[in-house]
Amino acid sequence: MIAPPKPDLITVNIDGREIAVPKGTNMIEAARRLGIEIPHFCYHPKLSVAGNCRMCLVETGTPALDHATKQPVVDPATGRVKINWVPKPAIACFTNAAPGLHIRTGTPLVRDCREGVMEFLLINHPLDCPICDQAGECKLQEQATGYGRGYSRFTERKNVKPKRTRLGPRVMLDDERCILCSRCVRFCKEIASDDVLGFVDRGSYTTLTCYPGRKLENNYSLNTVDICPVGALTSTDFRFKMRVWFLKTTPGICAESSAGVNTEIWSREGVIYRITPRRNDEVNDTWMTDSGRLLYKQVAAENRLRHHLVGGAATLPAEALAKAGDLLKAGGVAIVGSGRSSVEEQFLTRKLAEALKAPAWLVGRVGQGDGLLISADRNPNVRGALMTGLIKTPPAPQLSELAAQIDAGRVKTVLSLGEDLAAAGLSEAQLKKVAVIYLGTHASATSAAAKMVIPTLTVFEKAGTFINQQFRLQKFAPAVPGPQNVADDLVTLSQLVLTAGGPALASDVDGLWTTLAAEVRHFATVTYQNLPATGLLLDGSDFAGLPFPEGETLHFKPARSDAVITT
């Protein structure tokens, strides 16, 4: 016996196949669940429905009811319920599931509608795919191939519209390619709350433009490039750099803040070309910040640390590591961990602190949240440090306790995991009193003054996990290899733990998770491999009372509103 469908589910019939979908589901999404593609341009699952492209026209119908009995009429020829098909096609994006709704997506009428819309969209389109940056990820290209006639009957002159219009610092517009789907307009209005885009003029001469005197320069402007189905909006950073079909994608997590935006990192031959958002409906939907997209530039930044340095002189890695071990074993060590380190690194940092009986701090980084995808906590992984036990409370921005201990002469060596100690409040005099071992990716005032520098990998070059503000454990993978001779942070740290007399621990993510799952209660059943792509929500109730700085962001409401720290 088949169980009756749940009351909030509605069964619809698409191309003769039945599917139960939640109330409010539109037919594009319902068909997608059945593996049936309904082509569309203007519809976007995270924006309001505009219904203007008319590409998703389908035939709709409902069962014919007997006038007297109000019961469905059964066609004696087929033995099936007779369907009254509406002669006029309807847009699937705005047709929501309704009891008894039937749709057909493959009839001659539907095919004709699609061919017609494709032809109309292309008659005034420049067809400049060979020089268009969107080629390869262009919905117009794909659907022209899939649903167009393959030839044009248009012999008139095409409309002329503005080319190469700079809408803002990061977005370029080619109006001739625009198909007026209004996705970008709706995004700016509905998501970015910055209603700067709109249409001027009428009919086929309608032109996308910016409000007079304004620019598209909000920190979410590049999302318009992502959602533009054609090559009208392009990124000034990425355009003409690389054909997209040469690029491979790697799942990443944005390290900009504790929001934990899921990303896709696009690279070729060890070079990152762009970062785009990866859909996660629990975290960032399909969006990310412009500032987060530009973080990949740190990989090849000029101040990138590429060599092991002892006393400012380049040294072989093994030698530098041995000398660092000697310094640590001499005692009087304090550790400045990082909220930018991965969960695995923080766990090893804790193991190192335990082996050395050294106190450990983190440097807090608190800014203004934007209410969307930048949270007030600019460290991506403070909750990781809490869960791995590296720290007990959210970190302060200043290392005043460490400063006091240096003044008291109790600290001789400070191991900093990429944190700039001077910026975190240590005076020049205090820094002079101690030997600094700096494990970091980029040069800073601290690395310049450090006795030893051990270069490490950026988040784009290594595997690991972060725990975001929701206590969602999310993993990232290495997109590109690190610089020559620079070892993975986990290798360096596990070696230092061993040198310091601590346990022998794995130096790879998979291996470490066996230990993490065994030792950290919150991670009990987790392995790196079984962690879902959209992350795993952990139980953060142990930490509910702590004063986290985050305010409300997309899909996140702080547990206590009075815990918001303003700086």
């Binding site: 492209c53 009919g203 001469y205």
Partner: protein, 449 residues
């Protein structure tokens, strides 16, 4: 002066010597008496009268007014708005302009009665931008009516208040489409809304229930409230009640507007007897019977139309009674009542080119088929007229039109496709042989583009 065959109801005083737009003049002719009587009645009674009258909307679609009113969501708790659609932009139609210019108080009285019937407290007259004189006249008339406590707070001491605001459009044909009009009134681009779910009766102006009625329709409401729905239903013919304003333009000797009982006059009577026939030495060739978007009728066509009694009538174009149902039965529509008459001097390709230029210019650009198709059709016909016609152009035009009709957000899709479809279907030979015919231009053909 009115033609003896006319039955003037809403145009009764229009063109009368000495009749002015002044409220005192309107009072002298019994003005606002119906409003006084109406506010003493129950609103539901008035809605009932309108239902009984069988009044069909005069804007173009011919939707029954009483049904429209009864669809209004009265339980939403939101205010109900009434909008008088005075965005008369359909080429060939010029009736609302006369009603506003010559008898603005009749419209205001009709609006106020309709507002009382629907318990509306805020009404708008959305008047097209080009009607600047009409807007001024209405503003002045509303001020006069307000001074006499006929508009505004506490109307006629009843405690009922209702304001009327005049809102001028900015010159877009699409603002005549009710949801486009509502968007424009809200201060946005007049992109028509998707129906469902945005039916004005439920989610109209500011997402509140809204009634949008044509100027002529609202003027009729006054007379329905006056004579009663049943009496009104006796005028005209079954299902096409009351009188109808017809605007005749083009190749007739006496163009202009005329008011007749719906369906009591045929196209031939109108054009030959009342409008004086074609200019000397010419013959009628075609007529667009209900505003430029209705399908053209070709003189010489025959129509087999099933009658109500089951018999079949065989009509020529001249025999078609001018009412909504007969014109629909003949494959066109009564629309807004604008008849465009063309005699045998007309180059049908050029005439279609003119219409296509209009629709390409007026397409709002929201949805793909209409936006791209209307301009494409214009470009084809313009190319033909400018000397580069190809034999297959007619077929292409029709195919483009077929790709528009029925696939757009609003009825503009049909409005811009129907002329092309019907011109090509009925005058296909002219399209096919256009290049050849142009080599020997007839001296009589005036340039239309």
């Amino acid at each position: 002066m009115p033609h003896p065959a006319e039955r003037r109801l809403i145009c009764r005083h229009i063109d009368e010597p000495g009749y002015t737009t002044d409220i005192q003049c309107y009072f002298r002719h019994g003005g606002y008496e119906v409003l006084k009587r109406s506010v003493a009645r129950k609103p539901e009674e008035l809605i009932d009268e309108v239902k009984k009258s069988g009044l069909r909307g005069r804007g173009g679609a011919g939707f029954p007014c009483g049904v429209k009113w009864s669809l209004v969501d009265r339980r939403s708790g939101n205010p109900i708005y009434l909008i008088a659609n005075a965005d008369e932009s359909e080429p060939g139609t010029f009736k609302d302009r006369y009603l506003i210019h010559q008898d603005p108080h009749q419209l205001i009285e009709g609006i106020m009665i309709s507002c009382w019937a629907n318990q509306v407290q805020q009404a708008y007259i959305y008047i097209r931008g080009e009607f600047s004189q009409g807007a001024r006249l209405l503003e002045a008339a509303i001020a006069e009516a307000r001074a006499h406590q006929l508009v505004g707070p506490d109307i006629l001491g009843t405690g009922y208040s209702c304001e009327i605001y005049v809102h001028r459009g900015a010159g877009a044909y699409i603002c005549g489409e009710e949801t486009g009009l509502i968007e424009s009134l809200e201060g946005k681009r007049p992109y028509p809304r998707i129906k469902p779910p945005y039916f004005p009766a439920v989610l109209g102006l500011y997402q509140c229930p809204t009634i949008v009625n044509n100027v002529e329709t609202l003027c009729h409401v006054k007379h329905i409230a006056d004579m009663g729905g049943e009496a009104f239903a006796k005028i005209g013919t079954l299902n096409n009640t009351g009188t109808r304003l017809l605007c005749v333009s083009g190749h007739v000797r006496r163009p202009g507007y005329y008011e007749f009982e719906s369906g009591k006059i045929t196209l031939g009577q109108l054009l030959n007897d009342i409008c004086g026939g074609p200019p000397p030495g010419r013959k009628f060739k075609a007529v667009i019977p209900g505003g430029s978007s209705s399908k053209v009728l070709r003189f010489g066509e025959r129509f087999k139309v099933r009658q109500r009694d089951g018999s079949t009538a065989d009509w020529g174009v001249e025999d078609i009674p001018l009412d909504f149902d007969s014109l629909v039965a003949c494959g066109s529509m009564g629309g807004s009542g604008g008849l465009i008459v063309m005699d045998d001097s007309v180059d049908m390709v050029a005439a279609l080119g003119n219409l296509n230029a209009f629709y390409a210019h007026e397409s709002c650009g929201q949805c793909t088929p209409c936006r791209e198709g209307s301009l494409w059709m214009k470009k084809i016909t313009a190319r033909m007229v400018h000397g580069d016609a190809r034999p297959q152009d007619g077929e292409l035009l029709e195919s483009v039109a077929d790709q528009i009709a029925g696939r757009t957000v609003c009825p503009f899709g049909e409005a811009c496709a129907w002329p092309t479809q019907s011109f090509v279907q009925k005058f296909g030979d002219e399209f096919t042989g256009y290049a050849e015919a142009r080599k020997h231009p007839s001296a009589a053909s005036p340039a239309l583009i």
